[in-house]
């Protein structure tokens, strides 16, 4: 089933197109990696899918079963203040505010759900810890938990491993893989070739001259795919 679809859309800022005639679709259960050089349209694409900027032409169509405002989004890390006083629990709970209707405080169910997500991501012992005192990997897992709180269907992760050490990176990838195996659709913007190579089923590659959208196996036979492999030191040809 298609969750999100764009048919011949053009995206960009203030009337300036960044990517033109883009056609893509994300099916339920997919693992899509969004790759490409800086400034080629990855962030523009993310913002368009999130509805923060409108497409210049065409429309991003959501499946009726998916509300456009219930995408589990993990923003780029640089966008969050590092010294913000907040506990892990406070951050995770804030993920469900999009469906929150109560006047004061969170409901029992919301708290239970937050606790179960926190333990699913292995943060049990840290739920009342302060965010600013966590390691980079723990911080990302907290923000991932918040994204899951917003939805359990579709995650959109924007460069989730930036600044993490290799062990924390591997851990986060394995958590994301597990979530995807549990049926959560994953869209991930990444500079790192490994998830694209190992985990993804679909690739959306942006470059200044155009884009590629298709299966992973196909992608690594195309020119941009081979170039990406070569740059990452995986050139075995």
């Amino acid at each position: 089933m298609e969750l999100i679809k764009g048919d011949d859309i053009t995206i960009g800022y203030d009337g300036e197109p960044v990517v033109s005639h883009l056609t893509f679709s994300v099916r339920s259960g997919d693992y899509l990696c969004i790759v490409g050089e800086n400034g080629s349209g990855k962030s523009t694409f993310v913002k368009t899918v999130l509805g923060l900027i409108p497409p210049l032409s065409g429309q991003v169509v959501f499946s009726p079963s998916l509300r456009p405002d219930s995408i589990g989004y993990l923003p780029q890390k640089s966008m969050i203040q590092r010294d913000f006083p907040s506990s892990v629990m406070e951050i995770v709970l804030s993920g469900c505010l999009n469906r929150h209707r109560r006047l004061f405080g969170y409901s029992r169910e919301e708290r239970d759900k937050a606790e179960s997500i926190i333990s699913r991501l292995g943060l049990d012992k840290l739920s009342s810890s302060s965010f600013q005192e966590l390691s980079g990997g723990q911080q990302q897992r907290t923000l991932l938990a918040r994204a899951l709180m917003a939805t359990e269907r579709l995650l959109l992760l924007d460069e989730p491993v930036t600044g993490l050490d290799p062990q924390a990176t591997a851990e986060l990838y394995s958590i994301i893989r597990k979530l995807q195996e549990d049926g959560i659709t994953v869209m991930m913007v990444t500079h790192d070739i490994h998830p694209a190579l190992n985990d993804a089923d679909m690739i959306l590659h942006f470059s200044h001259t155009g884009y590629y959208f298709g299966s992973r196996d196909e992608y690594f036979r195309t020119e941009p795919g081979l170039k990406f492999l070569k740059e990452a030191g995986h050139d075995h040809s």
Binding site: L50, G51, L52, R67, P68, D69, S70, I71, Y73, P75, M79, I80, Q81, F84, P85, S86, S87, E90, I91, L93, S94, G95, L97, N98, H100, L103, F104, G105, Y106, S128, S130, Q132, E133, R146, A150
Partner: protein
């Protein structure tokens, strides 16, 4: 004993109640303002408030009726300015000093009937009965809306991009903060003085952040700090005949230094374990 003495004067009891409510609301708002890097807006607004107050007294208009709308409008203007990528801070500084200049000019044209000192540094005597009622209403509205929208204000402060992406109307909460801040500044300004009111927004949050690391604790400690500093400062000002605003700010400063030391000591204790 000294408290009983203060309470026996109706105008002091009134000032005490107004100050208490303002301390609670300003500390709550301050936490979000400081975390959003909007501290300068509070400062700018108090200068604009002074300007409006000066002009109101020159034209013999009701001070609240003039300052409230002017400061609310200015808060939206200052918000837009602070979001500008370049030149926003200098624009705020220009607006502040221009408003201050207009106020000073207006007060001096007004002549003998107005006390510039009271406008700048506050006066307990200026809290009239109607002021007290307005202050009561404004503080009640501020505290109530802050509590109702506590989680939304938190979320849109912590990560506005995520909040917007999940369908939250962040601008609404920013505007709400701007209006509430203006209200508190206008109401608090007459007692604490326009030069000192912004410290009531900033000190509690900064002090609380030295010792607390979760949002709820920062909010609770900020309120506690703000209320205690107000009460101590108020009593000191009565006992030593100091200007109220100044003595409250001095107590805030002492609390800040104490909490800074406490925070340093807590960090040291944790790392040495």
């Amino acid at each position: 004993m000294i408290i009983a003495e203060i309470l026996s004067y109706p105008f002091l009891a009134r000032a005490l109640m107004v100050g208490f409510l303002i301390s609670v609301s300003s500390s709550l708002l301050g936490v979000s303002l400081v975390l959003r890097r909007y501290s300068m807006i509070g400062d700018g607004l108090s200068h604009v408030g002074f300007g409006a107050l000066g002009i109101a007294s020159l034209l013999s208009l009701s001070p609240m009726a003039v300052t409230l709308p002017v400061v609310v409008v200015a808060s939206f203007l200052l918000l837009r300015l602070s979001e500008r990528r370049s030149g926003g801070d200098s624009a705020i500084a220009l607006l502040s000093s221009s408003a201050l200049a207009l106020g000073v000019a207006a007060v001096s044209i007004g002549g003998v009937n107005t006390d510039l000192n009271a406008f700048l540094f506050g006066s307990i005597l200026s809290v009239s009965k109607s002021d007290a009622w307005i202050s009561f209403g404004v503080s009640a509205v501020t505290i109530f809306s802050y509590l109702v929208f506590y989680h939304q204000i938190y979320a849109s402060t912590f990560d506005p991009v995520f909040a917007r992406a999940t369908g939250m109307k962040c601008e609404r909460y920013t505007n709400l903060l701007a209006v509430l801040t203006s209200l508190v500044i206008v109401v608090g300004m007459r007692m604490l003085g326009s030069m000192l009111i912004s410290s009531l927004l900033i000190f509690p949050a900064l002090s609380a952040m030295k010792v607390a690391k979760t949002y709820l604790r920062v909010s609770v400690i900020a309120v506690a700090e703000s209320v205690s500093a107000f009460l101590i400062g108020f009593i000191l000002s009565y006992a030593l005949s100091l200007p109220t605003g100044a003595s409250i700010v001095i107590v805030h400063m002492c609390f800040y230094l104490l909490m800074m030391a406490a925070g340093w000591w807590m960090r040291k204790a944790r790392t040495s374990v």
